[in-house]
Symmetry: C4
Subunit: 208 residues, 4 copies
Amino acid sequence: MDENTKDYFSKDRMNFFSDGIFAILMTILVLELKVPQIQDESSFAELWKGLVKEFPKLFGWLISFFALSVIWVNHYRLCKQFKVIDHTILWLNTLLLMFTAFIPFPTALIGDYPNNQLSIILYGFPMICITAIFPIMRLYAIREGNIFESIVPHRKIKIAYFWCPASYALGVCLSFIHVYLAYIIFLVLPIVNMYPRKLSMGGCSFEK
Amino acid sequence: MDENTKDYFSKDRMNFFSDGIFAILMTILVLELKVPQIQDESSFAELWKGLVKEFPKLFGWLISFFALSVIWVNHYRLCKQFKVIDHTILWLNTLLLMFTAFIPFPTALIGDYPNNQLSIILYGFPMICITAIFPIMRLYAIREGNIFESIVPHRKIKIAYFWCPASYALGVCLSFIHVYLAYIIFLVLPIVNMYPRKLSMGGCSFEK
Amino acid sequence: MDENTKDYFSKDRMNFFSDGIFAILMTILVLELKVPQIQDESSFAELWKGLVKEFPKLFGWLISFFALSVIWVNHYRLCKQFKVIDHTILWLNTLLLMFTAFIPFPTALIGDYPNNQLSIILYGFPMICITAIFPIMRLYAIREGNIFESIVPHRKIKIAYFWCPASYALGVCLSFIHVYLAYIIFLVLPIVNMYPRKLSMGGCSFEK
Amino acid sequence: MDENTKDYFSKDRMNFFSDGIFAILMTILVLELKVPQIQDESSFAELWKGLVKEFPKLFGWLISFFALSVIWVNHYRLCKQFKVIDHTILWLNTLLLMFTAFIPFPTALIGDYPNNQLSIILYGFPMICITAIFPIMRLYAIREGNIFESIVPHRKIKIAYFWCPASYALGVCLSFIHVYLAYIIFLVLPIVNMYPRKLSMGGCSFEK
């Protein structure tokens, strides 16, 4: 069987597939925002009051949308450096997609129960996994040697790669002091990760 | 890290990703149309009466579908002129996608509460933002100089670029006189923007 | 503005976008199938009875899935003959997508009220429009002359192009005798249109 | 009509379309996970109790997500060997997509009624069909001769191709002893099929 002799997966197909999943997720998140039930259908004040109660859902939508867009950009940045996609990269990527596809559920949880610590833990969980899989993919690719386009000189700073999952974990821990601290971190992290940095610590952020 | 030295994003990936989000949005809008509950399951008249009540939802679906298709076409028209995608363009585009991905929620709002002014304001809000981001992207690209394929001679007419968000804002304002005036504008604007114009004011419409 | 001088749209983008919408529609149709509520959770018989009541929904899912897959294939067949995409083709295509994106709603209607003639009329309506837009696109492309890859010799048989919307219209009419007659036609039409035919009447089916 | 003379379908379009459907399915599965209703909104214990009841849904999500990702990979592996896509391959693929698009429904069934044998039978049914269509496509392509890129030397081992649908069928049968036996098989099968094997029986797994 010839697909065993050259067992590499198509990079384009994997990227396309991942992009598709990211796009769908960023879109279906909005289905969680529900129209409030009000009595007087033309009352501005009553609809406003109903929408204010939706604020946690809107906030959840916002931080998940930003997190997903940063994950998408960093996924692009990491994958464009790959020369080939072997089975380990393919299944690490699938694992990444699995945790990403899970995000709408904890997003709905924090929308409904924003003050419940369990919501925050369950929101942080896939985020920690996703942001940890990026450096794991990178470290695997470095170790294998033939995956990256060029041998990149970032062998030393392995622990620094994990500052992002560590930050999400910190957010979860801080929720034991006050849930708002977790939300601040969940909001700030994607923003911090938007621009690639030339920090010597490198390979930080969601991926880069 | 080599992605910092040449920090341009893939135009194809960004276009593909945006197209995906537009396609999904135009499709999931229909999920808002609910089958009416009727007693006599085979009664033509009763089902008709139930569906007539759905008319605002159908109207909302229609204007959002058309707006999204015009946004898609204009997004195509603007982006095909770009030579490179830098970080500012990438994140302006993400902001554009964020407001676009929000559309199903206010569409549901005007479907449920068509006579409520707050619904109209919340519907107009993402539309104003989206139609404003297009000329902002264009003006940024003109200023940067190296983003457009060729130096386009549209430097002068900067204010005219913003006639479309201004029209949406006008629609929102007119709703204070009568909500129907807003709906007429929301319906007419996408139709007006369907065909590219050679108007000297240029760069008008959702994007072009 | 250079996009006015060469105002053709990208065929690849339009195809990609249409394919995306077809794929999403064929997938979200399944969301209409609801798990029945039963008392004894492990009772085979009770769940079976609940599912039998779902049969109209399952049937609706089936005929819409097949219709959409035939629309997709015929869309491919028509569009691959196009050399360029001008504005008329682009907006005819958007109209086609609009009626296609509407399909989940009447599919839900016939799932809930299979014996209601209004459901059947509303199901037939987008199907008639879709299957009519295909020959309209073809006739427009023939008339324009520069749209088809090669001048195709199918100028004479213009009325025959419309047998498919006519068949859907017939199905709707037959529902006034018995609703089942309409369903038989709705089921048979996609199957008939699966294989391209060399019939001299040509250009039949959903598109070809 | 020139599309009859050379009636092959575009492999890229078919792959793209199938990938799109797989991506959407893997994403909308999560919509089945519902936020539990609790009284005390900030109670960790109550939310935990509510989520524990969701465990069958989470398990269903997990096995379907893995099954779909394996189907995607094996679909890629099979299709990349095809030189051309004729009508039989195209419609076998559509049939494959139909059963795949059905998966969210039985996944919801086993989530709601995990101890009901009918749920398990209905979950096994599309899986048996999907895993059977892969070897049917392969056998058809071998027989036709001009479909595979190169004549592959796997003519003898035809029955072995069907071990995967047979395993799913076995899982369904074992559910008559105990439902958990079926779930173990449904969980193990995708994992077993993740890595391509060089087993002489070849062409096993979901596809390969």
